[in-house]
């Protein structure tokens, strides 16, 4: 099915240069090679400075039949289903402006190429918080995060992009510029295309600008670091929390295997057979104190081995180490892969155990990280390629049996190619029809919708 990148279209290079200026088009293989994705080297890499340029590039792509791969920082390019073609990489990094900050409305309008870290930093100066905190936020662009519906620990308290994005400007696959949503907290005018673009992986259009919700920075933040010998105890605590009126900012879990290659997560080492909950508690002083007291008591009632309350630098270090664990464990084993299991909240312990059992069956170590307030576990499987496909099959079955699903995220290319398809569901036909209707020439991120049946 996969075709290799087509040779540069004769008329396309000059046409792209005409749109963005020759200095913003690279066709030299030494440059284009660094944008290789899914084994495909693009014929050209183009840097767009504004929405109008994006529109013209997409129109040019349509006229010449060249596929276009929207690109932010590239941090998610090797995640999920594989592309079938990649002629032009369209990089939005230059669109990195804060267009309008409205502190009274708690909203900010930005260019899609702005990095999350740059936005956080500037908002922090106004004592404002942009709550989206996915893994690669130091480099990843807001546009890329919205397109991939990336999220992080704070989703427990603030939700995901669909709850945070107020408006989106996008270029459709046929080059039209559309504005969806707006800048108000509530908006039900028309069909909500804004949320359709979130998580559409650049297959229905290219997000070029967005209006985002901001929140006041909490008065006080503390982190609780709780270590357990057994998964049952950790998830019993989570279950208690979930039905209580307490409102932690994030409730994250990591086991010793997932954490073994990273800096210490908290103030003490984590053994391979232990699990740790890292809980953010943010709010006003009184709330934070109550949370610390009650959660510590709940932990005590659930055989916690070690409790630490972290603040300031120590808390930041712990969270950075937690976030860094992902890359650390994947870098340490080139054949490792990482996936995402999402199950109902009360089935997380079962999913955790299933992952471990599958690992034992194939005699491969498995590490696990997760968002306990969202039923999401990220297994890291340190497996040779020969077993990966069977392991993935087992993981998919285990998650489905628990009422959820499993998908492959980061994995060596051959693994993603053979097992990267998305679950077969009754809504797939509608998705394909939408893709065809919006992108009749299939030029935007072809293959990324995971069209291949499972």
């Amino acid at each position: 099915m996969d075709k290799t990148a087509s040779p540069e279209q004769p008329a396309l290079g000059p046409r792209l240069a005409g749109i963005v200026g020759p200095e913003n088009v690279a066709t030299d293989r030494q440059v284009t090679k660094t944008y290789e994705v899914d084994g495909l080297v693009p014929a050209a890499v183009v840097f767009a400075a504004n929405t109008e340029q994006v529109s013209q590039i997409v129109k040019a792509g349509n006229e010449s039949g060249a596929s276009i791969i929207p690109w932010g920082s590239g941090s998610k390019q090797a995640v999920g289903p594989c592309l079938s073609s990649a002629d032009i990489v369209l990089c939005l990094k230059p669109m990195n402006r804060i267009i309008e900050l409205n502190t009274g409305n708690f909203s900010v309008e930005i260019g899609a190429g702005l990095s999350n870290a740059a936005l956080q930093k500037q908002m922090g100066e106004h004592r404002l918080l942009f709550p989206l905190d996915p893994l690669y936020l130091e480099t990843s662009t807001i546009g890329g995060e919205l397109a991939t519906n990336a999220s992080g620990p704070r989703r427990a308290a603030y939700g995901t992009a669909r709850d945070i994005v107020l408006g989106i400007t996008a270029v459709t696959p046929t080059g039209d510029i559309i504005h969806t949503g707006g800048r108000t907290m509530k908006n039900v005018a028309g069909i909500d295309l804004c949320k359709l673009y979130i998580g559409s992986w650049g297959t229905l259009g290219i997000i070029t600008e967005a209006v985002l919700r901001l929140f006041p920075l909490p008065e006080v933040s503390r982190s609780l670091c709780l270590t357990f010998a057994g998964i049952e105890d950790a998830f019993r605590l989570v279950a208690r929390l979930l039905i209580s009126p307490l409102t932690p900012g994030s409730v994250e879990l990591i086991d010793g295997v997932a954490g073994r290659n990273s800096a210490p997560i908290g103030d003490s080492p984590l053994a391979e057979d232990e699990v740790r909950l890292l809980i953010d508690i943010s709010g006003n002083r009184e709330e934070v104190e109550r949370h610390l007291k009650e959660i510590s008591a709940m932990a005590g009632a659930n055989q916690v081995r070690h409790i630490a309350t972290l603040e300031g630098e120590a808390a930041t270090r712990a969270w950075n180490a937690y976030r860094g664990a992902h890359q650390a464990v994947l870098s340490a084993a080139p054949s490792a892969f990482q996936g995402k299991a999402s199950v109902p909240l009360s089935r997380q312990a079962d999913m955790f155990k299933a992952i471990k059992e599958i690992g034992q069956k194939y005699r491969v170590p498995t590490g696990i990280r997760g968002h306990c307030y969202n039923g999401i576990l990220y297994p890291y499987v340190v497996a040779g390629d020969d077993h990966a496909v069977s392991i993935i099959g087992d993981l998919k079955k285990a998650a489905a049996d628990l009422g959820g699903f499993f998908i492959v995220e980061s994995a060596p290319l051959p693994v993603r190619k053979s097992a990267g398809a998305l679950p077969r569901r009754s809504d797939r036909a509608l998705m394909k029809r939408l893709k065809t209707e919006f992108d009749p020439n299939n030029i935007l991120n072809p293959g990324k919708l995971g069209e291949g049946a499972d």
């Binding site: 708690f106 509530k186 949320k195 229905l204 006041p216 409102t247 939408l434």
Partner: protein, 472 residues
């Protein structure tokens, strides 16, 4: 045109008792709170997904228009059958299928009334946060169709945040599952398209909703101001101080008076602006929140502050605000309600403009607002027997929406476009925006049989609104 044989076919699918076609029945489904009217040809009451699917297969074959309907409380003419055809009334699919507090999910049929779900959740210590003022009668399917809000959406967000999964029936009768009980279903977020689509893309037949634990404590502050400007400035100051109360509602003098005529909520009737502020959270934190808020109110020349802590006191205060639309209808059965929403820092100038419009068009406007969200609800009252007043009211409504758009706002925060605001869509959206929406519509309902003539202005419909610049 619906033939007699077709009505018989529907009766065969649903049972005769679930099909109505007598004129008196049709009349009952021909209107809502807006001045618009339209006669359906037959009303059907399916009781299962399979029946909805069977009905849709039949109407799809005959290309007959269908208006899906819950309780019809949308306030924008969205469920008026302007093209005749079938009204598909979902109120008999009203079972709560499962409440699973450990998983924070409730699974319901679309006809369950919002308050019925709340009443089932409360004993378990849970709540479904969207709480439209119509929650006593509006259905959850309708709430989803309109992406309903409500006072507590200030803190908790609107309906779209609380729909995890849905089962829908497409225009051709196909049954499709979107999302589920687990989060982050891979692929496009098709739920997002259905939520707020006013029934033009599909019919929701089952919902998996997110529920959350009830807050430990809630108090209500009633802050009374001599001028509307002071009250709205206080709202603005509370929000920009970074305080997020559970709810922050504003009522003007006319509204308070109207409410007191039928509900006796104990609102003052001589003050120009009243704020109803609900504080929620852990008991420990409310004292300081209350102090901070009353300090801000005092700076804005607050005249009086009341604090309600008991369940009964709080219930009475909420009853007033929640009963507002009904109370108005008792005094003046005909009104135009606008639902324009502005950025939160524009609430003061927006309300000032609404006052100016009332003067200019010589109409009585009663203002309530989900003020913390910038969501206005000016009610423009008119005498149904006076064509002149009706015209002035409609005109004033249009001007208010224009004011909202000019301030960077939107036509509707929660009531929907429906029929009423269709003519204003082109003032907000450009041709390319609407074309993209039409693409979505054509994927879901290529024959345009689902609630035709609502939400989306027809594609070839003359030149766009001159007030909007052409795209560059």
């Amino acid at each position: 045109m619906v033939k007699e044989s077709f009505i018989k076919e529907l009766a065969k699918i649903l049972g005769r008792e679930n099909v109505l076609s007598a004129r008196k029945d049709l009349l009952a489904y021909s209107y809502d709170s807006t001045p618009e009217r339209g006669m359906p040809e037959v009303i059907v009451f399916p009781r299962s997904t399979a029946q909805v699917s069977a009905v849709m297969k039949a109407v799809h074959r005959e290309k007959i228009p269908v208006v899906p309907r819950g309780a019809g409380t949308n306030l924008s003419g969205g469920t008026i059958p302007t093209s005749g055809g079938v009204v598909l009334e979902l109120s008999r699919m009203n079972r709560i299928l499962e409440i699973d507090s450990a998983n924070r999910r409730a699974t319901v049929e679309p006809g369950v009334v919002n308050l019925d779900l709340q009443n089932a959740l409360a004993p378990l210590g849970f709540v479904f946060p969207p709480d439209p003022a119509s929650q006593k009668s509006s259905t959850l399917g309708g709430n989803v169709g309109e992406n309903a809000g409500g006072p507590h959406c200030l803190k908790y967000g609107v309906t779209s945040k609380y729909v995890c999964g849905m089962e829908i029936v497409l225009a051709d009768g196909e049954i499709v599952e979107l999302g589920g009980s687990a989060e982050d279903t891979p692929g496009y977020d098709l739920r997002a398209l259905l939520i707020g689509a006013e029934g033009i893309l599909g019919i929701v037949t089952r919902l998996v909703l997110n529920i959350v634990p009830l807050p430990e404590t809630s108090w209500i502050l009633l802050a009374v101001f001599e001028t509307l400007e002071d009250a709205s400035q206080a709202v603005s100051d509370i929000i920009s101080a970074g305080i997020i109360p559970g709810a922050l509602e504003l009522m003007d003098k006319t509204s308070c008076w109207v409410i007191e005529q039928s509900i006796s909520a104990g609102y003052p009737t001589d003050a120009e602006g009243v704020l109803l502020i609900e504080l929620e959270g852990l008991g420990d934190s409310l004292d300081r929140q209350a102090k901070d808020i009353s300090e801000i109110c005092r700076k804005n020349k607050m005249r009086e502050l009341r604090l309600a802590k008991t369940t009964d006191e709080k219930a009475v205060l909420w009853q007033g605000r929640r009963g507002f639309f009904g109370a108005v209808a008792r005094i003046c059965p005909q009104y135009v309600v606008m639902d324009g929403t502005v950025p939160r820092n524009m609430i003061v100038p927006a309300l000032r403009k609404v006052g100016e419009v009332a003067e200019k068009y010589k109409v009585t406007i009663a203002n309530v607002a989900h003020a913390g969200d910038g969501n206005l609800h000016p009610l423009i009252l008119f005498d149904v027997n006076s064509e002149k007043e009706k015209k002035a009211a409609k005109e004033a409504g249009k001007v208010i929406l224009k004011v909202c758009l000019d301030m960077g706002g939107t036509l509707t925060g929660e009531h929907g476009i429906g029929l009423e605001k269709l003519p204003t869509m082109k003032a907000m959206f450009r041709p390319a925006d609407l074309a993209a929406m039409h693409r979505v519509k054509s994927v879901f309902d290529p024959d345009s049989i689902l609630n035709p003539g609502k939400l989306l202005p027809p594609e070839e419909d003359g030149p766009h609104h001159e007030e909007k610049e052409a795209p560059a």
